[in-house]
């Protein structure tokens, strides 16, 4: 039962989150099917990032339960959830600023090594990870920045670095919060190709404002407004939904 093919890889069950009395997410349920690319869209402030924070246990839910691969993870810590195979990127790019791009990716790769607490062991042994890290930088197209400090990378490249770092963990469920925000046209194309490639053998849940990417990539779309689910389905279904059209036009925000 626990590994059945139809069982969702991620399930949110009537989840709510309130910030000082303000309900950012209300009674929200979501099933993410294993192997799919699932997009979460909605106007600014709809609660998309908050749902990412709840699913990855970055924030505790006020109410509701969260299941990952059939296990109740409501009481687990964020790092535990990551080790179970759900790894996220952040909307505001999150990199290790004083480390080089290559070192950033190696931090993720280091998690598979047993010497994380080895304070007596020279970090030179980490050169063993160089090739693998470089290959990941190539995948996102920033290999020429390998030895530049992350803080010195242009914004779009920093986003790409973050995706490479996330991919380094080879997560079963990849959570991308606006992966292409702040990127130039060429890079957007590259990242969307990359998402398609890596999604062949994993599940992707992404928040994305670029609707052409959403239309091209996603198998399933959940539309969110004011912390509540507005619609769910394929792009064709969702884009014709009057409530969705109204929410988007009403908020006067879309790309």
């Amino acid at each position: 039962m626990s590994n059945g093919a139809d069982e969702p890889i991620l399930r949110l069950e009537n989840v709510s989150k309130s910030f000082f009395g303000f309900l950012a997410v209300r009674d929200f349920s979501l099933d993410v099917r294993r192997g799919s690319i699932h997009a979460l869209i909605g106007p600014n402030g709809a609660g998309k990032t908050t749902i990412f924070n709840l699913a990855t246990k970055t924030l505790p839910p006020t109410r509701g339960r969260i299941f990952f691969k059939g296990t109740d993870i409501t009481a687990r810590s964020a790092s535990e959830v990551a080790r179970l195979g759900m790894v996220r990127s952040f909307q505001i790019s999150a990199v290790f600023a004083s480390l080089t791009a290559l070192e950033n990716v190696k931090i993720a790769l280091q998690r598979f090594r047993p010497d994380g607490f080895a304070f007596w062991k020279s970090s030179k042994v980490l050169h063993a990870l160089d090739d693998r890290a470089m290959a990941l930088l190539c995948d996102v197209g920033i290999e020429s920045y390998a030895h530049a400090r992350a803080s010195e990378l242009p914004y779009g490249r920093r986003r790409a670095l973050e995706i490479a770092t996330t991919l380094a963990l080879d997560p079963e469920l990849l959570m991308l919060d606006e992966p292409t925000a702040g990127m130039g046209h060429e890079d957007v194309g590259r990242i969307s190709d990359l998402i398609r490639t890596v999604a062949r053998d994993r599940t992707v849940l992404m928040v994305e404002h670029n609707l052409s990417i959403v239309a091209n990539l996603s198998d399933q779309i959940t539309v969110l407004a004011r912390g509540e689910r507005l619609a769910e389905g394929t792009y064709d279904v969702v884009s014709r939904d009057p409530a969705v059209i109204e929410a988007y036009v009403g908020s006067e925000h879309h790309d």
Partner: protein, 326 residues
């Protein structure tokens, strides 16, 4: 692993980008050891012993603040507690010099584990306040417990002999023994910063939420860093206790915690040699001002404020910045 599905373009490797920096560090090490060897012929050895003890202490503090971003305001607790235990071991148990150092250092590690367990989940000012409060507890214990001799302090600690042969009451022997302890501690800390563990600490310092999201239990790493820092502060405190034959309440007093912060910031936070330079400057000033009749703390405080305003990277940090070293 599914990574094979990603096209792995031929990796580019950077040729010898890092080796220049490494050679420079070796040169600095060579100069430093030469200076350590020659120093007692130019300066009063007992003064140098004091500088080295505080330099080691400041390096230990720097290990935590520089690599982990945790500002402890209670490091005197490790320095002083280790001193009391090392002194007691040498005086009451009659243990030799080396064993007394080990006892003191181990005691500091234990106190560090306790402090760290309570404090590492906190950040910034909260962390500083908790470490201060815990250190005040240690101060209170030092005032009350019988073996610390309260206001009198633990005095007339026998120095003993290094390896059972070289008499530490000879000030040159004392100096070189201290220099060796310092060097061992310094090299150990340098390695910790550049270890596989140290690499993860840098990541945690740079971006803690990101490190968590990659699956690292950051509190355990911070706890480890805290204990290592406390242990090294303990090595410094033990050495000082034996070298000066006395441990007093000032060694666990909050002003000692403050003074080690000052040394580190003055010399250059997060730099390799900064804390050593900072300790040398502060200890020199203290010694110089002690005979002048001026209010020492006020003068040092004023100089400190001036330095922070003029060069906020600290002495070594500023030099490195000027010469473009990262």
């Amino acid at each position: 692993m599914s990574q094979e599905t990603l096209q792995a373009t031929s990796p580019v490797t950077a040729p010898g980008l890092k080796s220049a920096g490494r050679d420079l560090t070796l040169v600095w090490y060579g100069l430093g050891i030469a200076a350590l060897l020659a120093a007692p012929f130019f300066f009063y050895p007992i003064f140098l012993v004091k500088v080295l003890c505080f330099a080691l202490f400041a390096c230990a503090f720097n290990l935590l603040l520089g690599s982990c971003g945790l500002l402890s305001f209670g490091h005197a607790a490790f320095f002083g507690a280790a001193g009391y235990v090392a002194g007691h071991a040498a005086k009451e148990w009659g243990l030799p010099f080396e064993a007394a150092l080990v006892c003191g250092t181990a005691a500091a590690a234990a106190v560090g584990l306790l402090f760290g367990y309570v404090s590492v989940r906190r950040q910034g000012l909260q962390f500083a306040m908790i470490t201060l409060a815990l250190a005040q507890l240690v101060y209170f214990l030092a005032l009350q417990l019988p073996f610390t001799h309260a206001e009198d302090g633990l005095s007339a600690i026998p120095r003993g002999k290094v390896l059972g042969t070289f008499d530490l009451d000879n000030i040159f022997v004392l100096y070189y023994a201290t220099a060796v302890v310092f060097l061992i501690g310094f090299v150990a800390m340098h390695r910790m910063t550049n270890s596989t563990f140290g690499q993860l600490l840098k990541a945690i310092r740079d971006n803690e939420p990101r490190a968590i999201s990659l699956g690292y239990e950051v509190h355990r790493y911070k706890l480890m860093a805290f204990v290592l820092s406390a242990t090294m502060a303990g090595l410094a405190g033990s050495t000082k206790a034996i070298a000066f034959k006395i441990v007093a309440l000032t060694d666990v007093h909050w002003s000692t915690s403050g003074s080690v912060i000052l040394m580190t910031l003055l010399g250059g936070l997060g730099t390799l040699f900064g804390p050593v330079v900072g300790a040398a400057v502060v200890v020199s000033m203290e010694d110089y001002l002690a005979d002048s009749g001026l209010p020492i703390n006020a003068v040092i405080g004023a100089i400190f404020i001036l330095c922070i305003l003029l060069f906020r990277r600290g002495i070594v940090g500023e030099i490195q910045h000027r010469f473009g070293k990262r």
